[in-house]
């Protein structure tokens, strides 16, 4: 059904006000999914095209960024399906990949020093890129894009408990990467990279 000029004006103004300001956020999320700038551009363009066409279905007052992230992920999955380019790991594989990340770090004074003395942004950003899916999406949504566990669960179409476990394992994998980075940068002692089991009282 065609909109009247006045309705079209309202439609466009609300889209401009509520959806367009999140373009950079959607781009960051798309880039974390595709790990390729050209593919991310395509996914973001597809996201905003679909968002504009479907804007009448957006529930006013709800979280537009969450809504756009959901469209973005679906757009990414569609492009990946089209390209028949399977990059996700099945859950069984994920378990084995994550096995090394199950334990907390014990002595990590090298990483402590890194966090306070070095600009870790480039190292962390590339470590996030190297994270396997599905850990990467959970870390990016919650830690980089400040989404709640509930929002991430909705965007990723998974239970909240799965968000929690993927997020925690993703964080542990990142911390292990930082230990290696600290060692290479000369911050970590042999002891600090040797044992990986935390001792609780």
């Amino acid at each position: 059904m065609a909109l009247s000029p006045a309705e079209q004006e309202v439609y466009d103004r609300s889209f401009e006000r509520e959806a367009l300001p999140w373009l950079d956020d959607v781009y960051r999320f798309a880039l974390s999914l595709t790990r390729n700038e050209a593919d991310a551009d395509d996914v973001v363009q597809e996201t905003f095209l679909r968002a504009y066409r479907s804007w009448h279905t957006f529930e006013r007052g709800s979280d537009a960024r969450r809504w756009l992230f959901t469209i973005c992920r679906n757009a990414f999955l569609r492009t990946r399906e089209r390209a028949r380019h399977q990059v996700d790991l099945e859950d069984g594989d994920v378990e084995s990949v994550a096995a090394q990340a199950g334990e907390a770090l014990t002595a990590r004074e090298g990483v402590d020093q890194l966090l306070t003395r070095v600009d870790l942004a480039p190292a962390l950003s590339s470590a996030i890129d190297r994270l396997a899916e599905p850990f990467r999406s959970a870390v990016v949504l919650v830690d980089v894009e400040d989404q709640s566990y509930e929002a991430a669960a909705e965007i990723l179409h998974i239970p909240i408990g799965t968000v929690r476990s993927r997020l925690f394992r993703g964080r542990r994998l990142l911390q292990h990467e930082l230990v290696n980075y600290a060692r290479d940068a000369g911050f970590a002692t042999a002891r600090s990279t040797g044992a990986d089991t935390v001792t609780h009282e």
Binding site: D24, Y27, D41, L49, Y52, L115, S125, I128, V144, L178
Partner: protein, 101 residues
């Protein structure tokens, strides 16, 4: 100096109603603000009283802040923004300004 031998290790004392393992197990959810108000309070109290766990809190907090800030400067290119606005325009969208993003 006391001649008494050190006390044998006993059960971990509860601080805030929880022991260190429980506090550390919930630390990320605490930092994410994802615990119930009662659990938030238990962990907060434990951390305030426990000299062993507070450094863990500081480390994880610094780690999460570093992850959260590592991509804040990453933006869509001007070329992409222009391309999206052109596409939306073809669909009938008319922005208040030539470039709304």
């Amino acid at each position: 100096m006391s001649d008494q031998p050190p006390a044998a290790p006993g059960p971990a004392p509860l601080k805030g109603g929880i022991d260190c393992r429980a506090a550390l197990d919930q630390l990320w959810e605490y930092l994410d603000g994802e615990l119930s108000p009662e659990k938030m309070e238990s962990v907060r109290t434990h951390l305030a009283l426990c000299a062993r766990c507070y450094p863990e809190h500081d480390f994880e907090k610094a780690f999460l802040e570093a992850v959260g800030n590592c991509r804040k400067d990453l933006c869509a290119s001007h070329r992409l923004k222009t391309k999206i606005m052109d596409t939306l325009h073809r669909l009938g969208f008319s922005p208040t300004r030539p470039t709304s993003v």
